[in-house]
Symmetry: C2
Subunit: 421 residues, 2 copies
């Protein structure tokens, strides 16, 4: 451009090179390049044959079912979502969990990332009376995709996790309830469960306690359930899904294997659903329909739940087991701890006393065609860890090609060993 | 919800019942109800058989082309867009218009509505130095979907159109250049062409003059080309498409007949493309892929351009001709003027001296199962018309079922006649 364009404050915040942009650029390039890469970055789900066969079968059904294909591509839905899909998922959740919910409790967005962008900015920032409210993240590290979503510069508060060391090479984060209080400047709490980036699943007890605190404070609790039950159900621990009407439960079709259909779902009170629909109309007009049409009948008849429990979950559980085995072998000579793998599709590895930042480790690994995500990005908000913990971790995705994951882990071992020696 | 949730200032702005939400709710309900409705509201494109056959053929090709279907649904693209699509459309635009552009000049968003949301808030609102910049709409009435997109409460400036009356029952808006100046508080200019809601196409001379003014002021000119060339090319007048690197040209796959794939495209300088990609990553992670995969080869080989020129444009031109004929018959007894129909898929009808507001007329028509869009919504920003013009117009979409358009026009004639008598 001949002229130098000036961006607004909001514009500067949104266009600063963000962690999520780097992650998605790395991912997109890796998915389109012909160069062999060890892809342990990004969050693309695996291509699981049983899943892909199901999507293909559904598309063939849609094409052969009269004008269903034409209705799917050529009609706008309402900003709330596709009518059949809203009814299907509401009926399913009501039957499966005995919650008193209907289509008025469901809103669809173009990916659950967009739902959280809307919710953060509805519930935090400058209030009509001029005061500023914040989103409180009760456990960081937390999902990189949230880090830059708050439009107000002071809209995030966070509490560093309590670290429980387990054995020689494992650890688990817990919510530090001693440090957690919900002041009047808090607009909502937000937690991902299973947690991105750690594979942690906060316990049922932690959820109930957070829920009670949020309810007492009169603010919503956002639970990002993108990896949780009932689908994709990538949960290796025995935990339960909880919802009450002050909880906003985020779901997604991405991790069942449909990331590019961009379908996020929230379960919430009708008031929140109406608000999200209203934002959708202004920001996006309406949602992408493909994923909703593919899955509506699969949700209704239990196919998606079965696929998740019998195929998707065991696939990732086995991948996780192997990746941990490879890591334990590759890192035998260096200080390391792996976060307990209780769900999702990545491992979180902590190198206590790492001589360089995880950002520098990321760069060195990228030079060797091995992509990971530097941990720095996942530590945001007001809360900071004592010591260097926030610069000593990396996230490793184990959903892609097994050989390249194994090779990537071998290279990580080499690089880290060089650093410590 | 037990608790009353408080929304932020931004939240209140985005959740106030907006015109675009009402429009989309009306539209969505109309598309899913079994009750017969005369649908002259909303903006759903027609189901043109030749278009639908092409989308179906492409989907069959995708399914039979190895694992192309699986790659399409199961891989995230980069936040900029699908690699093949970016290359295809850039190469096409370069060849067709001799512009010096490449994939670095193209960004995809989940619908062009989202692109404008991003751009308005990048280019207007509070600047880093504390001053407020605005988007200047050089000709209102302008697209209802923009009305609530500016997050800053004082971010819109607008100039009322100059009205040229033509014959007894026609008129055309022009840009009132005498009233148009680009102050230092302006961050960008924005105009839709063909204009939503009027079917106006601002002249080549007006475009060149706007472009020169924007360039001189050092700000971008946004041209929303959702109905324009090269596709869907719903242009009945002989006009030209113009682009320079300070122009941000918005395009869309919606009006070729693929509204629910949610694919918007901008052609802009690499600086703007990078900014939009960065916002995409934060707000949406990545884009819906379906529409990009369906159309990439159709853009490359000229099919989409031919379809637009030989099928889509003539279809709407004939619809427009008939709708004007029906209107002239139905309104013979009342004062009315129809805006010249130069493109897009709706007519803009002005009832000088209408005894009620167009909002009230909308309500009365809705009670008779006839949906239109009240004109009030399209008049926004600082500029106001002398007299009641902004409450005397309605938008009529002529893309849906012909019989119901004709019947709707008959009912409009009856209702308006009652009002004037």
């Amino acid at each position: 451009m001949i002229m130098a364009v000036s961006f607004s404050k909001i514009g500067q915040k949104l266009t600063t090179r963000s962690g999520i942009l780097e992650l998605m650029d790395d991912l997109g390039s890796a998915m389109t390049t012909d160069r062999p890469l060890n892809m342990l970055g990004g969050g693309n789900p695996a291509h699981i044959p049983a899943c892909n066969e199901l999507w293909r079968r559904r598309m063939e059904e849609i094409l052969s079912n009269g004008a269903e294909f034409e209705r799917m591509v050529a009609n706008y839905d309402t900003p709330q979502g596709n009518d059949d899909f809203l009814k299907s998922i509401a009926a399913y959740l009501k039957a499966e969990y005995s919650w008193d919910v209907g289509p008025e409790n469901i809103a669809v967005t173009n990916g659950s990332q967009s739902a959280f962008f809307y919710l953060f900015n509805l519930l935090s920032g400058e209030m009509p009376d001029g005061r500023v409210r914040k989103i409180l993240f009760p456990l960081v590290p937390e999902y990189i995709g949230y880090a830059d979503q708050g439009l107000h510069p002071q809209s995030y508060e966070s509490v560093p996790a309590a670290i429980e060391e387990r054995g020689a090479h494992r650890f688990k984060y817990h919510i530090n309830f001693d440090a957690l209080s919900i002041g009047t400047d808090i607009g909502a709490l937000c937690v991902s469960r299973p947690t991105n980036p750690t594979g942690n699943v906060i316990t049922d007890g932690e959820v109930m306690r957070l829920s009670a605190m949020a309810k007492a404070a009169g603010v919503p609790l956002l639970i990002d359930n993108a990896y949780g039950a009932p689908f994709p159900n990538i949960l290796f621990a025995d935990t339960h899904l909880h919802w009450e009407d002050h909880i906003i439960l985020g779901m997604s079709l991405s991790k069942i294997g449909l990331p590019s259909v961009r379908t996020g779902v929230i379960l919430a009170s009708p008031e929140i659903v109406q608000a999200v629909s209203a934002v959708n109309a202004i920001v996006s007009l309406s949602n992408s329909t493909l994923g909703q049409v593919i899955t509506a009948p699969l949700i209704a008849d239990g196919t998606l739940r079965r696929l998740s429990t019998e195929t998707i979950m065991p696939f990732y559980r086995e991948r996780s087991r192997k990746a941990m085995e490879w890591l334990d072998a590759a890192l035998a000579d260096v200080p390391y701890r792996i976060h307990e793998s209780e769900g999702a599709l990545f491992l979180w590895v902590w190198f206590p006393g790492l001589p360089v930042s995880s950002m520098e480790l990321y760069r060195r690994l990228k030079e060797r065609d091995t992509l990971v995500i530097p941990g720095e990005y996942f530590f945001f908000g007001s809360g900071t860890f004592a010591g260097n913990h926030s610069r000593e971790c990396i996230r490793l995705t184990y959903s892609q090609d097994e050989d390249s994951v194994r090779e990537g882990i071998r290279i990580i071992g080499e690089e880290v060993r060089n650093l410590y020696s």
